[in-house]
C-alpha cells in the first residue's frame, strides 16, 4: 500500500479542516477555557456526529462506516490544529476502540451504535500513578455472584466529568480485565481537575462498586491483549493530534516571523532563525511519515503495529516539544502573553505528550522490543 492518503481520505481531511476552521477555530478554545474551563461545545460535537466522524472506525455490521483509523487520524490531526476540545478521544478513539476489540457481542451490539450517535459518552479509566505504567494495575475486580466488585483508584481519566460510562481496567485473577461501569454506580467518587491544557480530567475512586458480570469486555480473549491494542491505537491517535498541533504552531510562527520587524528588517530574514525553521520543517516531514504509517498499520493489521505506535508517539512527543518551544521563542515577548494563541500549543503539548506515555516511555518500549 502506498504511503499516501487515498482520495477519499483526502476529501475527509479537507472537509474536517473546513468544518473546524468555521465552527471551532482556536478562538473557540479560548472561549471554552475562559468560560470556566468548559470541557467541550455540544454544538460542535453534534457537528462531529453529523459529519460521520464518530462512525469512521465502527464496523459496518454495527451500523458504522468502517472507513478506518486512517480517516479518524485525519480528523484528530485537524483538531490538533484548532485545539478543538471534544469527546472524540475519550469516547471514540479510546472507548469505542475498546468495545470494538471486545468479544462480548451483546456489549458491542448495544454500545457501538450508542457511542456513534454521540449521545452516550465514555471514558477509559486506566492510569493510577503519576506516570503512565499500564503494566501495574492495582485496582481489582472480584466475582461475587453475577457481579464483579471493583475497588481502587484511577487518575487523569480524560473527560470523565461528562461520561455516562467508564471502561475500567482492573486486575482479575492475576490477569487484567476491562469492565463497562455506569459512572453513576454506587461507590464511585469522581473529582474533577483542570490541567495545563485547560482540559478536564478526573481522579476516581471505586469503593466496592458492583458491576454486572455481563459488562466484562474480555470473555474468551485476553484483557491484556485488548488493552495493548487500545493503547497502541490510542497512542497513534494522539500522535495525529500532535501532528496537527506541530503544523499549526509551526505555520503560525512562520507567518509571524515573516511579518515581525526589528532592526528595520523582518526577523524571518535572519539566518539564525531560518536554519532553525528549516530544521523544524524537516522534522515535521518525518512526523507526517510515521503517523501515516502507523495509521495504515491499524487498518492493515500490520504485525509491526505496536512498533509504529511507539515510534509515532516518541517522535511526535519530541518534535512537538521542540516546535512548541521554538514557536514561543520566535514569537518573543508577545509569545509568553495570553494575548496570543501560540502558548496554547505549548500547554497542550506537555499534557498530550504525557498521555498514554511520553517519549521516554515509548523509546523504552522500542528498546525492549529490539532486545537492548
Amino acid at each position: 500500500m502506498p504511503l499516501t492518503l487515498t482520495e477519499e481520505q483526502k476529501m475527509l481531511k479537507e472537509a474536517a479542516s473546513e468544518f473546524l476552521l468555521t465552527n471551532s477555530p482556536i478562538e473557540s478554545f479560548r472561549e471554552l477555557r475562559d468560560n470556566n474551563y468548559q470541557s467541550y461545545d455540544p454544538k460542535v460535537w453534534e457537528g462531529f456526529v453529523e459529519m460521520g466522524w464518530t462512525a469512521l472506525t465502527i464496523p459496518e455490521n454495527y451500523g458504522g462506516l468502517d472507513f478506518g483509523y486512517t480517516g479518524l487520524g485525519q480528523i484528530l490531526e485537524e483538531t490538533g490544529k484548532t485545539l478543538t476540545k471534544s469527546p472524540l478521544i475519550s469516547s471514540i478513539l479510546l472507548s469505542a476502540t475498546a468495545i470494538r476489540l471486545s468479544d462480548n457481542e451483546t456489549l458491542k451490539a448495544k454500545w457501538l451504535p450508542e457511542l456513534m450517535s454521540g449521545k452516550t459518552l465514555m471514558s477509559l479509566a486506566l492510569d493510577e500513578k503519576s506516570f503512565f505504567d499500564p503494566n501495574s494495575v492495582e485496582s481489582s475486580a472480584s466475582l461475587s455472584g453475577d457481579s464483579f466488585i471493583i475497588n481502587g483508584k484511577k487518575r487523569m481519566v480524560i473527560d470523565a466529568c461528562d461520561s455516562d460510562y467508564l471502561i475500567v481496567v482492573a486486575s482479575l485473577d492475576e490477569s487484567i480485565s476491562l469492565f463497562l461501569v455506569d459512572s453513576k454506580s454506587k461507590g464511585i467518587d469522581i473529582k474533577n481537575d483542570v490541567f495545563m491544557d485547560a482540559g478536564s480530567y478526573s481522579s476516581i475512586s471505586f469503593n466496592n462498586v458492583k458491576v454486572p458480570a455481563k459488562n466484562q469486555l474480555d470473555i474468551e480473549i485476553e484483557g491484556k491483549a485488548i488493552l495493548k491494542s487500545i493503547l497502541d491505537i490510542g497512542a497513534i491517535g494522539l500522535s495525529c493530534e500532535m501532528l496537527g498541533s506541530v503544523q499549526a504552531a509551526f505555520n503560525q510562527t512562520m507567518d509571524y516571523i515573516k511579518e515581525r520587524e526589528q532592526f528595520g528588517t523582518k526577523i524571518g530574514s535572519y539566518q539564525g532563525l531560518q536554519h532553525r525553521a528549516a530544521h523544524l520543517f524537516c522534522e515535521i516531514e518525518l512526523c507526517k511519515s510515521i503517523t501515516l504509517k502507523a495509521l495504515q498499520s491499524i487498518d492493515d493489521e500490520n504485525e509491526n503495529l505496536s512498533q509504529y505506535a511507539h515510534l509515532a508517539k516518541a517522535k511526535l512527543g519530541e518534535v512537538l516539544k521542540l516546535t512548541s518551544n521554538e514557536a514561543i521563542q520566535m514569537h518573543g515577548g508577545i509569545g509568553v502573553t495570553d494575548d496570543v494563541n501560540i502558548g496554547f500549543y505549548l500547554k497542550r503539548a506537555r499534557v498530550v505528550q504525557h498521555l498514554l506515555g511520553d517519549t521516554n516511555y515509548h523509546l523504552e518500549c522500542i528498546a525492549k522490543q529490539k532486545g537492548y
Binding site: 474551563y37 492510569d127 500513578k129 503519576s130 506516570f131 487518575r155 487523569m156 473529582k191 481537575d193 483542570v194 490541567f195 495545563m196 491544557d197 485547560a198 480530567y201 520587524e261 526589528q262 532592526f263 528595520g264 526577523i267 535572519y270 539564525g272 532563525l273 516539544k321 518551544n325 514561543i328 521563542q329 518573543g332 515577548g333 508577545i334 509569545g335 509568553v336 502573553t337 495570553d338 494575548d339 502558548g343 505549548l346 500547554k347 506537555r350 499534557v351 504525557h354 511520553d358 517519549t359 521516554n360 516511555y361 523509546l363 523504552e364
Partner: protein, 397 residues
C-alpha cells in the same frame, strides 16, 4: 599576620550578627511565599503584618535599607567588605529584604552614575525611605530585541516635554508611583543617538495602565500608555539624546541578574527530586532515558556555578571579564528553561495540574510556563548570541 582591618571586620560581623538576631522578627526570617510577603513601599504603602512594619522601620533607622549607598543619599555608607558581611549575615538568618524596589536595584545605580547632584539628593533618599514605588519603561510593542528602535516620543515644548507612546513589560506599573523611561527626543539622527532617559510621575494626566496576563497566568507586567503627558524638563537624567549610554549600563546590570549571577536562590538538585518522584531500581532511576538527561543537565548546572565563581574571582584579581554579561544571561536562562522542562517531565501528571486543588498548588506547571519568558526578557538568547559573536569573537557583520 592579621591586619587591623581584618580585626575591624571581625568585630563588624559580630555586631551585625547580634543586631540582626535582636531586631529581625522571626516571621521576617522565612522565605517569601506570597506576594504579600514583600513590602514595596510607595505612596499607597500598606504593611501586611506588624512584623513587616517593624522590620522595615528597624532597618531604615539603622540605615541598612541600602547599606552601601553614601550616607548623604540615605544609605548606610558601608564599605564593600562590610556590605558583604551584612549580606552574608542576613542570608545566614534568612532575613527578607525589608524593602523590594526597582529604585534600589535599577534606577539607583543609573542615578548614581548619570544624574546631577541635585537629582541624586532629590530622588535617592526617597527610594531608601520607600516613599516612591518606581517602575521601569524600556521596551515597546514594536521595540523588543531592537530596543533602540523605540518610538515613544518626548517633544520639547519649551518648559516641558510632551510625551506620547506606550511602554510594555512595565512590571507593577499598576501599583507604581513613578516610572523611569527611555524616550525618543530626536528622530533626525541614527536611532541610538536620539534617546533620552526621563522620570515620569504616574499620577500625571494622560498615563494609563493595562495589566498583562501571561501564559503562566497573572503577572506583575503591564502595558503603560502615555497620551499627551506633560513632564518637567528637570526630570531628564543625564545628557539629552545620550540616554542609550544609560540604557546599555542598565541592561548589562539586568542581564547578570537574570542570568543568575549574584542570585541567592538555592536550587534543589534535580536528581534528588527525581529520586523522590520516580524511585530507584537496582540503584538507578526508574526512567533510564530521563537519567541521561538529568546527568547532562546537572553536569552543566554544576559547571555553570563554577564559572560564575571563576569570573567573579578573575574580576577581583583585576582581570577584565570581557563583555561576559551576555554569556551569563544566555547560558543561565537556557539552563533554567531546561531545568523547568525536566521538572515537568519528572513530575508526571502531578506536575501538569493547572488549577490548584487541596493536594497540589499547581506551581510546577505555572513556573514551567513562566520560565519560557526567561530566554526572551532582558534581551533574547538570540540577541545575546549576536553580542557574543560581534563583541567577544569579533566576527564580521
Amino acid at each position: 599576620m592579621e591586619t587591623t582591618t581584618k580585626v575591624d571586620l571581625g568585630n563588624f560581623r559580630l555586631e551585625t550578627r547580634a543586631w540582626l538576631e535582636e531586631n529581625c522578627p522571626m516571621s521576617a526570617r522565612e522565605p517569601v511565599k506570597r506576594s504579600s510577603d514583600m513590602y514595596w513601599g510607595g505612596r499607597n504603602a500598606k504593611f501586611t503584618s506588624k512584623d513587616q512594619k517593624i522590620w522595615f522601620e528597624k532597618m531604615l533607622e539603622k540605615k541598612w535599607i541600602v547599606p552601601y549607598w553614601e550616607k548623604k543619599y540615605g544609605g548606610g555608607g558601608l564599605s564593600p567588605e562590610e556590605n558583604n558581611i551584612l549580606t552574608q549575615e542576613m542570608a545566614r538568618l534568612g532575613c527578607r529584604k525589608p524593602l523590594f524596589s526597582f529604585g534600589i536595584a535599577m534606577l539607583g545605580p543609573a542615578l548614581l552614575k548619570f544624574a546631577s547632584e541635585e537629582q541624586k539628593l532629590n530622588y535617592l533618599p526617597e527610594i531608601v525611605e520607600g516613599k516612591i514605588w518606581w517602575c521601569q519603561g524600556y521596551s515597546e510593542p514594536s521595540a523588543g530585541s531592537d530596543l533602540a528602535g523605540l518610538q515613544m516620543k518626548a517633544e520639547d515644548k519649551g518648559d516641558h516635554y510632551l510625551i506620547n507612546g506606550s511602554k510594555v513589560w512595565t512590571s507593577y506599573a499598576d501599583n507604581a508611583d513613578w516610572i523611569f523611561c527611555l524616550v525618543r527626543t530626536n528622530t533626525d539622527v541614527p536611532k541610538h543617538n536620539g534617546i533620552s532617559f526621563i522620570l515620569i510621575d504616574m499620577s500625571t494626566q494622560g498615563v494609563s495602565v493595562r495589566p498583562i496576563k501571561l501564559i503562566s497566568g497573572k503577572s506583575p507586567f503591564c502595558e503603560t500608555f502615555f497620551d499627551n503627558v506633560k513632564v518637567p524638563k528637570s526630570n531628564l537624567v543625564g545628557t539629552l539624546n545620550d540616554g542609550w549610554t544609560i540604557a546599555k549600563y542598565l541592561l548589562t546590570h539586568e542581564r547578570q541578574m537574570i542570568g543568575g549571577v549574584g542570585g541567592t536562590e538555592i536550587k534543589k538538585e534535580i536528581s534528588k527530586i527525581a529520586i523522590d518522584q520516580l524511585g530507584l531500581s537496582s540503584g538507578q532511576l526508574n526512567d533510564s532515558f530521563l537519567r541521561t538527561q538529568i546527568a547532562k543537565f546537572e553536569m552543566d548546572e554544576n559547571i555553570f556555578e563554577l564559572t560564575i565563581q571563576r569570573i567573579v574571582d578573575e574580576d577581583k584579581s583585576g582581570k577584565q571579564a570581557a563583555a561576559l554579561s551576555s554569556f551569563f544571561k544566555y547560558y543561565g536562562t537556557e539552563l533554567n528553561v531546561k531545568r523547568e522542562e525536566l521538572l515537568i517531565q519528572i513530575g508526571g501528571n502531578d506536575a501538569l495540574l493547572w488549577v490548584p486543588n487541596e493536594n497540589n498548588d499547581a506551581n510546577v506547571a505555572r513556573k514551567f510556563c513562566r520560565s519560557k519568558g526567561n530566554t526572551i526578557e532582558g534581551g533574547t538568547s538570540e540577541i545575546q548570541l549576536n553580542i557574543i559573536a560581534k563583541r567577544v569573537l569579533n566576527l564580521p557583520s
